[in-house]
Symmetry: C2
Subunit: 401 residues, 2 copies
Amino acid sequence: MTGSVWSDEQIARAALARLLEPLDNVGLALVAAAGPVEALQIATGATTCGPQVHRAFLEVLDASGHRVRTDVLIQAIARWQTRVGALAPLRDLETVRRFGGTLLIPESDWWPKALADLQLEEPMCLWVRGDNPAPIPSQERVVAVVGSRDSTSYGLEVTGDLAAGLVARGYTVVSGGAYGIDARAHRGALKAAREDHPLPTLSVLACGIDRYYPAGNEDLLREVAREGLLVSEVPPGSSPTRYRFLQRNRIIAALSSVTVVVEARWRSGALSTAHHAAGLGRSVGAVPGSVHSVNSAGCHRLLREGSAICVTDAAEVAELTGPLLAELEEKREDKPALHDGLVVEDLLLLDALPVRSSSTVDKLATVAGLSVPGVLAGLGRLETDGLAQRTDDGGWRKRSR
Amino acid sequence: MTGSVWSDEQIARAALARLLEPLDNVGLALVAAAGPVEALQIATGATTCGPQVHRAFLEVLDASGHRVRTDVLIQAIARWQTRVGALAPLRDLETVRRFGGTLLIPESDWWPKALADLQLEEPMCLWVRGDNPAPIPSQERVVAVVGSRDSTSYGLEVTGDLAAGLVARGYTVVSGGAYGIDARAHRGALKAAREDHPLPTLSVLACGIDRYYPAGNEDLLREVAREGLLVSEVPPGSSPTRYRFLQRNRIIAALSSVTVVVEARWRSGALSTAHHAAGLGRSVGAVPGSVHSVNSAGCHRLLREGSAICVTDAAEVAELTGPLLAELEEKREDKPALHDGLVVEDLLLLDALPVRSSSTVDKLATVAGLSVPGVLAGLGRLETDGLAQRTDDGGWRKRSR
């Protein structure tokens, strides 16, 4: 394989990505034990698995909590055999290069370190595509904005605002390229992107990065490829299956420091992304909505179960990305009310002061339940604060403002 | 004071309620140290405070975290002096009796035990009024439903549904009798009340129970007095001051096992009730709403800060009233999805099965990435589950449903 622009590891992982479905734990454990090049040889039957590698392989599975029979590898090799004939890693790599893309692997510099938190479930590789390829930022700068395909105008509006607000703050918005909330998240991010933003948005797809799925989002996905990145763990040409959709969600969650669910029904794929995020110790935000909207029921479920934090705008999402990197957000307008800081006696006195007529000190003492000296002292303080004023007849009233 | 239908403690507390504003800690500590009858004597200057009582009095203040000067009582007595001339406890008691009411005091059987959690801030007494007086139920059966005076149609609708749902489950709905959310909570409770419900709703007022405040709610408050209870810690004739409103909120919170805030602005009195409830270790529920609604901003603030649990209907509120008494609510519809419980291999296989055409076992093995025996076993399981079917040409496809 010398002479190729691709490293041996890239070629091996490209082949393994076609041989194995995402999250094939047996295959992933084999790679962890033997490295990608030897693992491919073993998986395709080109070589047999030595006892040392086999022991390491079983240990990896055991350490990640998988109780397996000792013949699990033999079974798996038989299972994989049906796909060996279709392997053509160099062709796949050329395909992705033709699209202006490349193959990221854990051994490469640009590999998003955040994915290591997936441990054994770390993807075999990531096929990425973008006209102006930029590295995927570290998780502190990445926020996932996800939600249902069927969405309300409310959900779409909030999504657009969130995505735009996050991009304006320098974050990269990750989503899944689906209809509804996902699509609006990408669109909002693209719309808000400025020249100097390295990567406003990226789509993690459940199909190959050479495909536009769903078809109605073709234009959008083309624009994401132009201005951002399309990313997938499955090789070019792969079709999006339900299984791949579910597995794809773990990558969205792992790339991001915060996963925000804008709208989701009581049962929704977007909740799976949220649960992945929570499982990884990432923050989860949920946008509240009407209790009458079935499209918010999943968000309210997350809030009620305590799996998510209530977020209502981009500033609140940014706060969740971490204390170190979250900018100093302007505090929400929280002006002290007129009467903040008054002692109880002065509050009583203020309540007792008439607005139009005037009152005497003695009468104020009775109404407010204060002593005469207490009233005099309080009136002095309230006058200083501009809350009380003397009247022409020598009495007191509230200061008109 | 013999011959009166009122006990000495009732008469003394009635007088003290007029002498002291709510939450006058010095007065409350004096009552805790000396009992109401002697405390009244001391407070009015009819007798002096002996050294033993004075020591106990200072200890009560100290124990409740109040750092005071030793002359605090002398100062207070001077302060109270302005109201001594106006004391007429028997007249006040007669007034409340004319309205079909009575005076509850901590010494009486019907005193709501839950108020003891307020410790030194426990009310001096409660003036109550109701045409069909029923005891205030223990806190497990009482839920506060509160919110802003300015409310949206959304907030009003949710409030009405919540109150009705709670009363239908046998709870008593407590609120503050104000415009907006409070009023709708009372109305929803009254509307849902059945003959056999002892107490659908009660209003804790910031003014005397002989007054209708706000005036626009007079009809409503009359109906609450007919079908439920009006309750106040301030004596008949008292006007509602801002100070009394704020203090009143602690009673609403203390009577209830759960305080639900339906709508509240970022700064709102309803939040003070929620904070009182949280401070007492009671549950707080917040109803979510549109992130664009300023009337929901306070609820979202509570959710975000973790002070409240997200509630969207009466069943979810009922769950918060405690594990012992919350009925077994019908679980929200949560049918297993078609594909729940399938192993990963079967999910892959299901994804690989065509819907209209048919596929061979070998092709399925390649597409799904499974071995041929694995496909055969999986097809058997899927056929049993009604998810796969044989085609006339000997192949397989998804079962049409």
